[in-house]
């Protein structure tokens, strides 16, 4: 028997418990059942992914100008390539596209300014985004002033229209939703019942019905010769519909704020609007970020429904392109492209909301 007088040096963990092999063994091959499932999973992945990759990349055609450049063995990205401008800007006149670019560059700039913590004058920039920007965007996109030719809304389309619809819907629905949520919790009977009726009515009908009413029935009720631009009809329909959902999300947040908060604020002598604006809403909205973003993402995707009223949003313009007799038969490519664009936007929104949650986290997480 030997006596060790020195501390034994720490030895590295046995090879069987570290590294990729060990990770595989514990997580994927830890028993006969798990091994069988892992192999089955790998086989399924192989079966599903191989043709997909072959179709989308290996056999795909990337360069060309017409359908004859496509072998049709794989995806024909030539189609998406040839139509890319149209998918993004719709039928917006080519010489005026800079106006769309400028509008969205400005918007991206304003949002970036608000999102980067170091930059000053947040309050003014926020005001410019909410009040100044819509006016600016209207003059730039629609035109008719300052020497810009008018671009009728029936020429708007593609990703641009999807974004315009989504942004108008979001910017419009949030304040209306907050008002409705507060109104529904109000003790004034008329305000309260109005809000309840409004919310329950708009939540009770599907968006597709709302758009359909706006596009098919509304013109019949209007006096002859008076017609509201169909894009404005869609704006109003989407905003009212979405604000009802937003109101319920926000009401959920308001109910999670302990009554003591409001009572304490009242004890300090604050009036109703100060209590709400400074104490209750900031806490409620912060808590409701996942819910609000969820509503926004679903709104972003719901904008595709405007297709049924003849507006060419991203999906609509893809479908219109599919019916060009020179490009028949590339439906799959078109839909895959549209899905990919939607995914990028929705995923970015969801990441941004997670970032916001972390940033605004003040230790209340339960």
């Amino acid at each position: 028997m030997t006596i060790q007088s020195k501390m034994i040096e720490a030895r590295p963990a046995p090879n069987s418990t570290i590294g990729a092999v060990a990770w595989l063994r514990t997580n994927l091959f830890s028993g006969p059942v798990n091994t069988a499932f892992t192999l089955l999973g790998l086989y399924l992945l192989y079966v599903l992914l191989t043709p997909t990759i072959q179709w989308a990349f290996i056999n795909a055609d990337w360069v060309g100008t017409s359908r004859d450049d496509c072998s049709r063995e794989g995806a024909c990205w030539v189609f998406v390539n040839a139509r890319l401008g149209q998918f993004i800007y719709g039928l917006y006149p080519g010489s005026e596209i800079w106006r769309v670019n400028l509008t969205f560059a400005t918007f991206a700039g304003l949002i970036a300014w608000l999102a980067i913590p170091r930059l000053p004058y947040k309050r003014w920039v926020a005001l410019a985004t909410l009040v100044g920007f819509p006016v600016f965007a209207y003059f730039l996109l629609y035109g008719g002033h300052f020497g810009l030719p008018v671009v009728q809304t029936h020429r708007w389309g593609g990703l641009m229209l999807t974004l315009v619809l989504a942004i108008v819907g979001m910017v419009g629905a949030l304040p209306i939703g907050i008002m409705l949520a507060l109104g529904r919790r109000s003790e004034m009977p008329i305000v309260k019942s109005f809000c309840v009726v409004f919310i329950e009515f708009w939540r009770g009908v599907p968006l597709i019905t709302v758009l359909f009413m706006a596009s098919v029935m509304l013109p019949l009720f209007m006096p002859t010769g008076i017609s509201v631009d169909r894009l404005i009809r869609a704006f109003i329909g989407i905003t009212l519909f979405q604000s009802a959902y937003m109101a319920e999300v926000i009401r959920g947040g308001l109910q999670a704020i302990p009554r003591g908060q409001e009572e304490a604020a009242a004890a300090l002598g604050m009036g109703y609007w100060k209590r709400m604006g400074l104490i209750v809403l900031p806490q409620a909205l912060k808590m409701m970020i996942p819910g609000i973003v969820n509503t926004f993402i679903s709104l972003f995707k719901d904008t595709t429904l405007v297709m049924i009223i003849g507006l060419f949003d991203l999906l609509g313009i893809v479908q219109a392109a599919l019916s060009d007799s020179r490009w028949l038969g590339f439906a799959l490519e078109g839909y895959v492209f549209a899905a990919f664009v939607f995914w990028i936007f929705c995923f970015s929104m969801s990441r941004y909301s997670q970032y916001l949650e972390r940033k605004l986290h003040t230790g209340h997480r339960r």
Binding site: A82, P219, S227, R230, M307, S323, D324, S325, L328
Partner: protein, 342 residues
């Protein structure tokens, strides 16, 4: 203090301001169109060969050419058109409410539509009919051999009803398989869900191109329904009705006289009295419609005659490769016939 009435007026005018894009109709569609500087034309939201935006974002198609012809007649400029895409459900409302001046959207002329909707059909741009597409392998050469077949069709159209009528009339059974969009219908046909695909013949050609191997399928000779497609206008404005009607007739007459967009300038001094009347050199036939004497010249110069439009959009000059068939001129065995201009 404002009286109640004043308040209402104020509210209403505020409302009108909000609506922004409101327009007040004048008495006649022609005046409205002139003031606007463009014809508002209702087209489909994408139908191969009839109306679809091309790579440059310009609308192309047989239905679109009707809009362009009307614009050429009214303004002398075929590009003075605002295209409004409409789906099947909202098309008539859009016309009735004045959102569009002409509806040129692959619309079948039927009694009910012509007599109960307050609309007038102005002519026929395409004599369509429902037909069948079958796989070569099926070995069928006539629709009468289709007893017991599974048939793919698109929902919500008259094709479903025509199909049922035809099979009942012939004492045959069939198994309908209904899809929502044309891509799904083609997909179902390719995947073997059905033996036969039915739709209007104009669309069968477009569906056939979408097959992986277009040569594997044939279109059967039988046409089981009458689908005359044409432009539609509102009832009650006969001047506008005449303009749209004669724009189409001018195109058909031009083909009959052999006037094309290329030779129209040479034809100006052809000496034929028919041609001279059409091109506005002998008399002014546009005047009674509130148009210039060169209305038909502008249509032919900028849009082309009916045959050119047909070949370019759906005929042999297009990927659809549809035969003229009954859409040929009456002088060539078809039924396209336009009244004389005199």
């Amino acid at each position: 203090m404002l009286s109640k009435k004043n308040k209402l007026v104020l509210l209403a005018s505020a409302g009108a301001l909000v609506l922004g894009a409101t327009t007040v109709a004048q008495a006649s569609t022609l005046d409205d169109t002139r003031n606007r500087g463009a014809v508002q034309c209702g087209v489909s939201d994408g139908l191969p060969g009839f109306s679809a935006p091309d790579d440059q974002g310009e609308w192309q198609g047989l239905d679109v050419d009707v809009c362009r012809a009307v614009a050429a007649a009214v303004f002398g400029d075929a590009e003075a058109v605002r295209y409004i895409s409409l789906n099947a459900v909202e098309r008539f409302t859009a016309l009735q409410s004045g959102e569009v001046d002409v509806l040129s959207r692959n619309t079948t002329w039927t009694t009910v539509r012509d007599t109960t909707l307050g609309l007038n059909f102005t002519g026929v741009t395409f004599y369509d009919g429902q037909g069948f597409l079958v796989s070569q392998d099926l070995g069928v050469s006539s629709a009468e051999e289709l007893d017991g077949a599974a048939i793919c069709t698109q929902s919500g159209t008259t094709t479903e009803l025509n199909l049922a009528d035809y099979f009942r009339a012939n004492g045959m059974e069939f198994d309908p398989i209904v899809f929502d969009t044309s891509e799904q219908t083609v997909g179902g046909f390719e995947a073997g869900r059905c033996d036969v695909l039915t739709s209007d013949t104009s669309q069968l050609a477009a569906l056939r191109i979408q097959l992986a191997d277009p040569d594997s399928a044939i279109i059967l000779p039988e046409v089981i329904s009458k689908e005359p497609l044409g432009p539609v206008v509102r009832q009650g404005d006969d001047l506008w009705f005449n303009i749209v009607k004669w724009s189409l007739f001018a195109m058909v007459n031009a083909e009959e006289f052999g006037i094309t967009s290329e030779n129209v300038d040479e034809m100006l001094d052809s000496g034929s009295p028919d041609v001279a009347r059409l091109l506005g050199q002998d008399g002014n036939y546009g005047e009674a419609m509130g148009l210039n004497a060169d209305w038909a010249y502008n249509i032919i110069k900028q849009v082309g005659n009916y045959g050119e439009s047909f070949e370019r959009n759906v005929g042999m000059g297009s990927p659809l490769q549809i035969e003229r068939g009954i859409n040929a001129l009456w002088t060539e065995g078809g039924i396209q016939y336009a009244p004389p201009i005199r």
